[in-house]
Structure formats: structure tokens, C-alpha cells
């Protein structure tokens, strides 16, 4: 079916312009919902990165000297494994530590180049079998004096609080975002439907003059897609901006040292960007598709 591209472009353009404020409202809603969605994602990723090492009941970490000998390592490992108060130990070797380091400082290439794998401290992550803070403190400190141990670091209460708060916050944000996504689909659906309703006599006339359904549909569908994509574009800018502002705001705070691990890697950001564009297209296609198929059949 030879459908004139010029015709489709002209019709779509006319519609978008004619309903400018409705177009705007659709785009704003899509943008807001996708921004929230993206922000929640980034937030969750950041907190994930930040607290990654404290997963699974890990309460303290025994960092060894980078120069520690194999015997020293074995001795600490045995001591930990044989201690009845320790429920689980995992060993992070130099290579894994370097990977983690690269992840944390993915945005500062010079930092990564300045340090090499051999300078990394291997470590033991320890999950005790008791939850009493004093017992854990005593247990950890006992390893402080062992040969080859550089430092024992305990999970701050803050880390745990953070994990909980962010879990709740993420759920709330995602719930709101999903709610808004539905609203966005509804809205696009309605923008298109209203556009079609306002032009129902024209559509009727087009049909009577011999236009096929697709000839009438396509401009409306493209209109919906444009809404979705425009909204996604705004959202991507918004999320990048939020991420930037958050990093900047936090890195200047002495009290919030803990957030310095809150860094999103480039690949995580690309993933989010792609996801948002995909969602935008989906919302647009869904909204206009439903509208067009429900309100345009002969």
C-alpha cells in the first residue's frame, strides 16, 4: 500500500501543533513518570554499589596488608573459620579487590591508572553468628593484632540504616513511578482518543471517501510515539541531571563520607538511558495503539 510519507509527516505535524498544550501535558507526564522511574533505578544502583560489600550479614571486614604472606593469610583464614562465633567468611583476593576498586572509581580514570592490582589489600568478609554489637566488636578487634592484618572495619549503623531506608524509598519511588507510567499510558491514550474524537467527522468522511483504516491510523500512532519519545528524552536529561546534582551535593559533605561510594558506572547509566527510551516508545505505542484500535474500527 503506497502510503505517502509526506502525507503522514504533514498530518502528524498538524495534529501535534493543533493540540500543542495537550501534547505538552502528555509529554510532561511521560517525562515525570520516566524521570521518577529512572531516578529510582539510579538510586537503587548507587546504594547497591555503595553497600555492595556489606551484603549477606557481613558485619566486619578484615583487611590484610597488600604485602601479607600466604602463611599470614592462611592463619587468619583458619582462625576465622574455626571460630564458633563466625558463621560465614568470604575471601576477596587482590584481583577481586581491584575489580571492586575500578567499579567504585569508574569515573576517575587517573585514579585507576595510578594504582595497580598489587597495591590492593586482600580481605576477609565476616558474618558473625550473633547479632550483639559488643560481641561483634570484641570478635573483630581480636583480629586487629594478628600478623599481616592492616585494619578491621565494622559496618556502621549508618550503612544498615541506609540500606533499609533506601529499600523503602526505592519501593515507594518505583510504586509512584509505575502509577505514573500507567497514568502516562492513559494520558497518551486519551490525547490520541480526544484528537480522534475531535476529528470524528473528518475520520468518518475520510472513510466514506475511500481511505483505508491504516491511512487514517498511522498519523495518530506516530503522534503517540512522538509523545513517548519526547517524554523519554526529557526524562533522560532529568535523570542525568539528578545524578550529577546528587554526586556534587554529596561529595562536598564531610558528614556523608559514606556516600562517596555512591557512584553509578557508565554502563549502568547507558542501561538506564536505553531502558527509558524503550519505556517511552512502549508507552507511546501502547497508548496510541489502544486508542487507534479501540476507537477507529468501522
Amino acid at each position: 500500500m503506497a502510503m505517502n510519507i509526506r502525507y503522514v509527516a504533514r498530518e502528524t505535524g498538524t495534529n501535534l501543533r493543533r493540540n500543542l498544550s495537550l501534547t505538552l501535558a502528555s509529554v510532561v507526564t511521560v517525562a515525570v513518570s520516566l524521570t521518577l522511574f529512572g531516578a529510582a533505578l539510579v538510586f537503587a544502583q548507587g546504594v547497591g554499589n555503595m553497600t555492595a560489600r556489606w551484603k549477606g550479614g557481613i558485619e566486619f571486614i578484615v583487611f590484610m596488608q597488600p604485602s601479607a604472606t600466604q602463611e599470614q593469610l592462611d592463619s587468619v583464614r583458619t582462625a576465622l573459620e574455626e571460630n564458633p562465633e563466625v558463621s560465614q567468611v568470604s575471601y576477596i583476593d587482590k584481583a577481586a579487590a581491584y575489580e571492586e576498586f575500578k567499579q567504585l572509581f569508574s569515573r576517575s580514570k587517573d585514579m585507576i591508572e595510578a594504582v595497580d592490582e598489587s597495591a590492593m589489600p586482600p580481605s576477609f568478609r565476616v558474618a558473625p553468628s550473633m547479632s550483639d554489637a559488643d560481641v561483634i566488636q570484641a570478635l573483630g578487634q581480636a583480629f586487629q593484632k594478628k600478623a599481616g592484618v592492616r585494619e578491621v572495619v565494622f559496618a556502621f549503623e549508618t550503612v544498615r540504616t541506609m540500606q533499609r531506608i533506601t529499600r523503602i524509598a526505592s519501593i515507594v519511588i518505583v510504586a509512584v513511578a509505575v502509577f505514573l507510567l500507567v497514568a502516562a499510558v492513559l494520558l497518551i491514550l486519551n490525547t490520541i482518543r480526544m484528537a480522534m474524537f475531535a476529528r470524528r467527522r473528518e475520520i468518518e468522511v475520510m472513510k466514506l471517501v475511500g481511505a483505508t483504516n491504516w491511512f487514517i491510523r498511522v498519523p495518530f500512532m506516530i503522534e503517540g510515539l512522538v509523545h513517548g519519545i519526547a517524554g523519554a528524552a526529557v526524562a533522560i536529561v532529568g535523570v542525568q541531571g539528578l545524578n550529577w546534582a546528587f554526586n556534587r551535593g554529596l561529595s562536598n559533605n564531610r558528614d556523608l563520607k559514606i556516600f562517596q561510594g555512591f557512584v553509578i558506572s557508565g554502563s549502568q547509566m547507558s542501561f538506564t538511558t536505553l531502558l527509558l527510551i524503550g519505556l517511552g516508545c512502549l508507552i507511546g505505542a501502547l497508548g496510541s495503539g489502544i486508542a487507534v484500535s479501540r476507537f477507529l474500527d468501522v
Binding site: 505517502n4 502525507y7 473528518e202 468518518e204 468522511v205 472513510k207 466514506l208 471517501v209 475511500g210
Partner: protein, 225 residues
């Protein structure tokens, strides 16, 4: 060309608009539909275009039973039929030119064809000065003439005209009738509903008279009453 077999149309709310109609119209014929207001003339025409479905009976257009036509084929049926609507049905936000051009765009004609044919047809109906006006800026009669121009710009096999001179003064009406006659002479089948006694009586073509949905007269070279 057009054949109705025992066609009955009852609108919802039990309004019978056409009852048991049997009509056979050959290629190239010119037929007047006459009858009082509400007697079923527009219904007759709408059935041929598949704008309405008959309640009973079968309708053949160009040899095909349009009752068994697939939904997606309907646009292609309509492209062979020019239709002058009783209420014009122009697209309000397209200019006169665009309205007529639309009938060609729909069937995928290239733009150079459109650019040459549309002005020619607008000249025939006497609207050269109104090419860029919108329907809302035209008088009733001018709108009706745009509707006429759109109906036969793509040289259809069949031309359905529902009171195409209802809003025209006698002189302009005669012009339009001459045009319809000329189109008819090139082989197009014309079915025209009208209330205009003068036109029917001077043209002396086949007349089908409806009364409350019944065909009460079918006369070749007939008069209005």
C-alpha cells in the same frame, strides 16, 4: 452495474426505510430517485456505498455482492464510487483544493497528477476564486459544488448524488446538471436523489419513486410526478 435483490432496511428503533426493493441499473444509466422527505432516498444511496448494511436482501455493485465483502476491501469499493453527500461532508480544516485533492491522495495518486486535475475540476464547477478558502468560508451552494467536484475528480465508475442541487439557485443547478450529464455520457452510471421537479421534468431520464420505503414507480424517461 447495480442490482438490489429484495432489499429491506430497518433502522434500529424499528424504522423501516426501504422495503423489499428490487432494482437493476445498467452501466451508463442515469437514474433519478424521487419521493417525499423521509421516503428512503438517502438510505437507498447509502446502501450502495456500504455506509449502511441492508437488514435483508442482497446488493451487487460492479458484479460483486457487497454484503460479503471483507472489511478491508470496503475502501477499494468506495474508490470506484463518487458520492455527493446531502450534507456535503467536507473536511473543515482543509481548503477547497485540499478537500478535492484528498480524494486523489487517498488512492495514492502522485502529486503532479493532483496538481493538474484538481484546478481543472474546480473550474468546471465554477470555484476558481475559492481554491484556498476553507469550507466555513463558503456559502451553502459553494460547499455543495466542492462536494460535487470531489465526487468525480477521480473519474469513478458510479456517481451517487444525494440532492446535489438542493442549495443551488436554478441557474447554477442547470450548470451542475449539464456536468452530470456530460459525466454520464462518458460511461459513468449516475444515481441522483432529488426534489427538483424542474430538473427531472426537463432531463426525462429513468425515474424511481419511493413512498415510505416502497418503490411505487420505476419509469424510463419519466417525470417528477
Amino acid at each position: 452495474m447495480i442490482k438490489l435483490e429484495n432489499v429491506t432496511k430497518i433502522y434500529k428503533g424499528d424504522v423501516p426505510a426501504l422495503r423489499d426493493a428490487n432494482v437493476n441499473i445498467d452501466k451508463g444509466e442515469f437514474v433519478f430517485l424521487v419521493g417525499a422527505s423521509g421516503s428512503g432516498k438517502s438510505t437507498f444511496i447509502r446502501l450502495l456505498n456500504k455506509e449502511e448494511e441492508p437488514t435483508r436482501g442482497r446488493i451487487f455493485v460492479a458484479g460483486k455482492d457487497i454484503g460479503s465483502l471483507n472489511g478491508w476491501k470496503v475502501p477499494y469499493l468506495r474508490r470506484n464510487i463518487g458520492y455527493v453527500f446531502q450534507d456535503f461532508k467536507l473536511l473543515p480544516n482543509k481548503t477547497v483544493f485540499e478537500n478535492v485533492a484528498f480524494a486523489l491522495e487517498v488512492i495514492g495518486r502522485p502529486s503532479h497528477v493532483i496538481k493538474s486535475q484538481v484546478p481543472a475540476i474546480l473550474e468546471l464547477v465554477g470555484l476558481t476564486t475559492k481554491v484556498d478558502s476553507f469550507p466555513g468560508e463558503l456559502s451553502g451552494g459553494e460547499q455543495q459544488r466542492v462536494s460535487v467536484a470531489r465526487a468525480f475528480v477521480n473519474r469513478p465508475l458510479i456517481l451517487l448524488a444525494d440532492e446535489p442541487t438542493g442549495n443551488l439557485d436554478p441557474a447554477t443547478s442547470v450548470g451542475i446538471m449539464r456536468l452530470l450529464d456530460r459525466i454520464n455520457r462518458t460511461g459513468t452510471t449516475v444515481v441522483m436523489a432529488t426534489h427538483d421537479r424542474g430538473i427531472v421534468d426537463t432531463m426525462r431520464r429513468r425515474v424511481i419513486e419511493l413512498d415510505k420505503g416502497h418503490i411505487v414507480r420505476d419509469q424510463s424517461r419519466g417525470v417528477y410526478e
